[in-house]
């Protein structure tokens, strides 16, 4: 790997070297290195590009890293990854894609991820998206995440995209069975002419199931973001969606909430607030000696990373 590729990998995974557990590194449309363990198997798909990640039952405290790197222009990468999480297992999955494009040709990565969480299993899924490189070619990422949570399963999904991605359409679908819980924290920054579109559809079918979505987005320059969420409560369940957006310059954010309590025992809430940085926050930081510009940066950093 080239130096800049190693750096990109580090930004994606927070790892300085290849991790000790199960991992699969995909580079420019090809599997680069792979490691499996006794407890976690990674099997390439036969009919299409992608892998099956199989976590055996009762595997606790283990991790899987499956970063994707694209370091060339003009590449269109489509990949299907399926995650099978065995009963009672509790694992960390780190995914994400970094595109370094120094050319004038667009590169795209579409990752279709399906999660199958068996009874009482737990997953923390961390997904980072990074676009970089001086080239005028687009850096496009379109992730699709489908999750099925069986009884008592829990999934935390943390997705972060902090600039550099020309355009993204992010779709997340989830079906939650009895007493399962899904928590989604999404942090997105767009700048320049970038666009980002997020779509959530969560189907709460199980009794006692619950979903919590917190989306923090910052749009600068002429960028444009859309947030669509659709939470359907078909049982005694709860859903809470919070969409918070900060606008700067000429940017725009649209938030479209939809909540549908099919069952009257469903308790569903959607909160959305979009606007410029709160004046009182700026004033407070200025009374602590920061200039307006410095105060803005700190507020945005905290909002996206805190």
């Amino acid at each position: 790997m080239e130096k800049f590729e190693e750096k990109l990998l580090e930004k994606l995974t927070d790892l300085h070297k290849l991790p000790s557990g199960a991992f699969n590194l995909r580079k420019n449309g090809q599997a680069e290195v792979r490691n499996t363990t006794k407890e976690i198997d990674i099997v390439p798909k036969k009919d299409k590009s992608g892998i099956d990640i199989i976590v055996k039952p009762n595997v606790i405290g283990k991790s899987v890293h499956i970063p994707v790197i694209i370091s060339v222009g003009g590449l269109s990468d489509l990949v299907y990854n399926d995650f099978y999480i065995g009963e009672n297992s509790d694992v960390l999955i780190v995914a994400g894609c970094g595109i370094h494009n120094a050319t004038c040709k667009t590169s795209t990565h579409d990752g279709i991820h399906s999660f199958h969480l068996e009874k009482n299993s737990k997953v923390r899924y961390v997904e980072r998206h990074i676009g970089e490189g001086e080239g005028t070619g687009g850096k496009i990422l379109n992730p699709v995440t489908k999750c099925t949570l069986k009884e008592g399963a829990q999934m935390i999904m943390e997705t972060t995209q902090l600039g550099g991605v020309t355009s993204t359409v992010r779709k997340t679908y989830a079906k939650l069975h009895n007493n399962s819980r899904l928590t989604i924290q999404e942090n997105i920054l767009t700048t320049d002419e970038q666009t980002a579109k997020t779509e959530f559809k969560v189907d709460l079918v199980g009794k006692g199931s619950g979903v919590e979505v917190v989306s923090h987005s910052v749009a600068r320059d002429n960028s444009f973001q859309e947030f669509h969420s659709n939470v359907i409560g078909r049982n005694e369940c709860f859903g809470h969606v919070e969409c918070d957006g900060i606008l700067l310059d000429n940017a725009r954010i649209i938030s479209e909430p939809k909540i549908d309590a099919v069952n009257k025992e469903a308790s569903l809430v959607h909160e959305a607030a979009i606007g410029k940085i709160a004046g009182d926050e700026l004033i407070k930081l200025m009374t602590l000696g920061l200039s307006q510009k410095e105060a803005e940066e700190i507020i945005i950093q905290g909002f996206l990373l805190g």
Binding site: K284, L285, G289, G306
Partner: protein, 239 residues
């Protein structure tokens, strides 16, 4: 440092108006005040009298229609909030500001202008009666109780260590036991000018000077015993 007889902070013919139905409404009228080093001033008076307006004008959060403000003989009337902060004015809001994602430790670092180790951050928090280790890594957001927010607001001013420290109703929401400690903090702020907006007798009692502000005007400046009789009058009028 100031020479003898020089005032730390001076307010000269300060007026502030707001527009109401296209007409100017006077909130503060021709205020003249001066503040010495190493003294505690307590601004008091009926609700809506203009106390918060006065201290916000000193911090630069709002700007006067006429008049001047001097800090250390320097005219600061046109300085921005951060320039005044750098010049040594600190301010604790009546209604504390919360954030989304900024940690208490980070804000104490910003306030003190340095990266504090855990021990130093703890000192600021302990001073306001908070068990530091429970708070340092918490975000300063609206999940904190009103009293907690208020204490951290005060801790940030302590961390700044300014020349002129302003507290707008610091006692609001603070329980009685801690209130005693709070008055000790104010008494111990050495070699600074402390300006406290308050309605509390305990705080009025530690004042070197009490400033009674009513209907946008200074009614009286003097020791607590001098101003106290007038306070009862204001209250009677309020009723």
């Amino acid at each position: 440092m100031l020479k003898n007889g020089e005032k730390m902070l001076k307010i000269d013919k300060l007026s502030y108006n707001v527009k109401e139905n296209d007409k100017d409404k006077e909130i503060l009228k021709d205020i003249n005040l001066s503040f010495d080093e190493n003294k505690i001033y307590v601004v008091t008076g009926p609700n809506g009298g203009g106390k918060s307006t006065l201290v916000k004008l000193i911090m630069g959060i709002i700007n006067p229609d006429s008049g001047k403000i001097f800090l250390d003989e320097q005219d600061i009337t046109t300085l921005s909030i951060d320039e005044r902060a750098k010049a040594g004015i600190s301010f604790a809001f009546q209604k504390p500001v919360t954030f989304k994602g900024l940690k208490i430790k980070q804000l104490l670092d910003i306030a003190s202008g340095k990266t504090n180790n855990v021990g130093q951050s703890c000192e600021y928090l302990s001073a306001v009666g908070l068990c530091a280790k429970d708070y340092i890594d918490r975000p300063l957001d609206d999940k904190l109780s009103g009293g907690e927010q208020k204490r951290i607001e005060i801790a940030m001013v302590l961390a700044r260590g300014g020349k002129v420290n302003i507290f707008d109703e610091p006692e609001a929401g603070i329980d009685l036991w801690s209130f005693e400690k709070l008055t000790n903090i104010f008494s111990s702020l050495k070699s600074t000018t402390t300006i406290i907006v308050s309605h509390q007798q305990k705080i009025l009692e530690i004042a070197d000077e009490v400033i009674l502000l009513k209907n946008g005007q200074i009614e009286k400046v003097g020791s607590y015993s001098e101003v106290a009789p007038l306070l009862n009058q204001s209250c009677a009028q309020l009723k």
